[in-house]
Symmetry: none
Subunit: 64 residues, 2 copies
């Protein structure tokens, strides 16, 4: 298994992003819908968020 260990962007669930920012998961969805947050979709329509983007946004809003 794992024939080709390509670097795939790791995705976070809405709940995980919500925990990181200390907000409600619904708020995370609002961010995504308003374009503030980039998101992939599962085939069922649930959102998955690129981990590196989340951390980048966290750092970016530091010290404000």
């Amino acid at each position: 298994m794992d024939t080709d260990n390509a670097v795939v962007e790791r995705l976070l669930t809405p709940a995980e992003v919500a925990t990181i920012f200390r907000v409600d998961p619904k708020t995370v969805s609002r961010w995504a819908r308003s374009g503030k947050l980039n998101a992939r979709r599962t085939l069922g329509g649930h959102r998955r968020y690129p981990e590196n983007e989340i951390w980048a946004l966290l750092d970016q809003h530091q010290g404000e």
Copy 2:
């Protein structure tokens, strides 16, 4: 000289697909059973997924 380098579709295991979409392997099985995902079968009945299709679906559901 590339005598017999036919383009063979690379197959991914359920666990690999699950990792890519950040879902449970069972969810991938449900996608296959509902026709959302194309799948081949091992002789024992386990599913294998064409890699190309997986990446295409992941990219396709980008945005919004």
